[in-house]
């Protein structure tokens, strides 16, 4: 069994010089894992004309930051990134490599795992260090990475391990792990990486990029009013919006509402949407599937409105109103306005 003491490596995603929030969140979990292993935490950062991002990563908990700075890495493309990351991993031999499960992360991580012929688990909701015994051969393994994730539509929680291959790789969605505290006084090492890319690495060209500023800030919202399939239409969401606006909150939605076209995917809360932790989460016309619950279970107070008294959401809400959201929400708006 390969013996590695290369620590934990986090892929630090950046765009236009800004480090992705999910990468910073992974540093706090990465620090925990590194401490449990008694090893170090490093980040790998690719880009061009990078400035103080390595120092930011150190402030957020890294002992080492590997920096690959090259014009061909300025914007994310699969092949050059996969090659550089794989080469650093092969050279430094980390135990664990974790990526944010952003679109770029989900494009890159499997390509790297394929190059390295190792295991990768997507969308982990938790990562821990623990022991494992192979049920057939009875081989014992110490200090493996438990890659924990819901599966089969969220009906089961699986703990997955990569006993014999290294590194152990996982991706984690934004909002699942906590943001670490920055300590500008922290010291660490910045290690420049030699970038040697042949012409075959740059066969895919970006012709155009169209990015919109994120319009919906679910992660930071203190109050979220979310609509589900029960809202019934895009027009129906106007009422949800009105309540959210009245309460000074943000509009959320279940996957069912988004898939039905009632509202844009930016508003989706849940395992495949955004994970949120508002002080108040109002779920209107949402049945409360496990995948939805995974995205909002840690809300301070959960208030559910549904015509179906058997809806699963009532089993984990703090307050439950069995009623028609089109009658209840106007009452809530009126009650809030009159209390002021």
């Amino acid at each position: 069994m390969p013996d590695r003491t290369g620590g934990v490596l986090v892929f630090a995603e950046q765009d236009g010089g800004k480090i992705a929030e999910v990468s910073l969140e992974l540093l706090s979990k990465g620090r925990e894992l590194a401490d449990d292993l008694g090893q170090s935490l490093a980040a790998i950062l690719l880009g061009h004309q990078l400035a103080d991002q390595p120092r930011q990563l150190i402030a957020f908990g890294c002992d080492t930051v590997y920096v690959a700075d090259d014009p061909r890495l300025a914007v994310y493309t699969t092949l050059p990134y996969a090659q550089v990351v794989s080469e650093v991993v092969a050279d430094r031999q980390p135990e664990v490599v974790i990526f944010g499960a952003s679109p770029a992360g989900r494009d890159l991580a499997p390509r790297v795992a394929s190059r390295l012929r190792t295991g990768l688990t997507a969308d982990c909701t938790n990562l821990q260090i623990g022991d494992h015994t192979d049920p057939v051969r009875k081989t014992q393994y110490r200090d493996l990475l438990y890659q924990i994730r819901p599966a089969f539509g969220g009906n089961i929680i699986a703990t997955i391990v990569t006993p014999e291959h290294r590194p152990q790789m996982a991706t984690v969605r934004e909002g699942v792990m906590r943001m670490p505290q920055a300590d500008p006084a922290r010291t660490g090492e910045v290690v420049p990486v030699q970038v040697a890319l042949g012409p075959e690495a740059t066969v895919v060209r970006i012709i155009e990029r169209v990015k919109a500023e994120r319009k919906v800030n679910l992660k930071g919202a203190k109050v979220i009013v979310a609509g589900g399939a029960g809202v019934g239409s895009a027009e129906g969401f106007e009422l949800v919006r009105e309540l959210a606006h009245t309460l000074g909150g943000e509009v959320g939605a279940s996957r069912a509402a988004v898939d039905a076209g009632y509202i844009a995917r930016d508003h989706q809360v849940g395992q495949t949407g955004t994970t949120v932790r508002p002080k108040l989460y109002i779920a209107a016309g949402i049945s409360g599937s496990i995948q939805h619950r995974a995205g909002m279970a840690e809300s301070g107070q959960i208030l559910a409105i549904n015509t179906d008294p058997e809806a699963p959401i009532f089993s984990f809400a703090h307050y439950g109103i069995v009623g028609d959201l089109f009658e209840v929400i106007p009452k809530m708006i009126e009650a809030y306005k009159s209390k002021a």
Binding site: D15, T77, T78, L79, P103, A104, R106, D107, P110, R111, A113, S114, T118, G119, L120, T121, A122, D123, P150, A151, F152, G153, G154, N155, I156, I157, A158, I160, V161, T162, V203, V204, R205, I206, I207, E208, R209, K211, A212, E213, T272, L280, I290, L303, P312, F314, S315, F316, H318, Y319, G320, I321, G323, E327, K331, M332, E334, A335, Y336, K339
Partner: protein
């Protein structure tokens, strides 16, 4: 100019309908106990390939890895217009993680031969990993374009695709051959063509023919005399083959796959434990949908500084 295309598809358990009786003791899902459906985004992948064939001409082959019952998905693909299908099915392929799956699929594609374009759905609704597409591209050493929404331009040796990125879209150009993973919003999959549906509903794998014949000859146990079984089965297989209705099923040896890289043996990841999610019902405060009760609730929440 015609394009040689392969579409990778998966038949998946309908994950919105899993009950406890569908789980094996070891934590794996008893797939035969669940209704099986064509993975939704694979329909979008097939539609994109058929769209290319409509516009430029070409050939669309379907490849899938799954249990024998995945023959149903093969029939479905033929009914929607695929030119050829092949099913990788064997015990040696079972319990594969994404790396082992990608390896097996790459071997099948190598057997099929030269290709211009590979299409996959972005992700399957059972694993939800979105890993097989990129890992297959890695195994075949071809460029990948994930989250593909629209082919903007296709010419010999070159493709231009609009794809989704965080907070927007980008247009990329890649050389052929390459692999695309297709998102659900890319297109509206065409339905079955009535003529093809009538034709291909008779398509069968060797296994299906043998099983049906075995139970006809021995309704109780399905284990008739082998000679009798062969006598019944062989003419049926010959007839199906003559009419292009015999669905090929491939084992590792048929695609020069190293068995140690397939299935559980070829999977670096192992499932350690599976827990059924048990929703613990907790007490919630019931609020009547009346003006008074709702007003009191808002007041209570305000007192708790929830709105601050």
């Amino acid at each position: 100019m015609p394009y040689e295309m392969v579409v990778l598809i998966k038949q998946v358990p309908d994950t919105k309908n899993i009950t406890a009786k569908a789980m094996n003791d070891d934590g794996t899902v008893n797939r035969s106990a669940l209704p099986a459906i064509f993975n939704p985004e694979d329909l979008n992948a097939l539609e994109m390939a058929l769209g290319v064939r409509d516009a430029h001409g070409g050939h669309v082959t379907i490849v899938s890895m799954g249990p024998p019952s995945a023959a149903a998905a093969m029939r479905e693909a033929l009914m929607r217009g695929a030119d050829a299908v092949a099913l990788l099915s064997d015990r040696a392929f079972a319990v594969a993680d994404t790396l082992a799956t990608a390896y097996a699929l790459s071997c099948a594609i190598r057997r099929i031969g030269e290709f211009d374009l590979l299409f996959c759905g972005r992700q399957a609704i059972d694993g939800d990993t979105a890993q097989v597409g990129p890992q297959l591209a890695g195994a075949l050493d071809v460029p990948q374009i994930t989250y593909a929404r629209e082919i903007l331009h296709l010419a010999p040796g070159r493709i231009c695709v609009r794809r989704l990125i965080e907070g927007g879209t980008e247009v990329v150009e890649a050389p052929l051959p390459c692999l695309l993973t297709v998102v659900g919003e890319a297109n509206e999959p065409r339905p079955r063509r009535a003529k093809l549906a009538a034709q291909f509903k008779r398509a069968r794998t060797r296994i299906e023919v043998r099983e049906a014949a075995a139970f006809q000859l021995d309704p109780e146990k399905g284990k008739p005399d082998p000679a009798l079984l062969a006598e019944r089965v062989n003419p049926i297989l010959a007839d199906l083959e003559r009419h292009g209705l015999l669905i090929p099923v491939w084992a590792p040896a048929d695609v020069a796959a190293d068995p140690s890289r397939c299935g559980a043996a070829g999977s670096p990841t192992k499932v350690k434990t599976i827990e059924s999610v048990v929703l613990v019902a907790s007490e919630h405060k019931k609020v009547e949908p009346t003006k008074e009760a709702v007003g009191a609730l808002i007041h209570e929440l305000a007192e708790e500084h929830v709105f601050d």
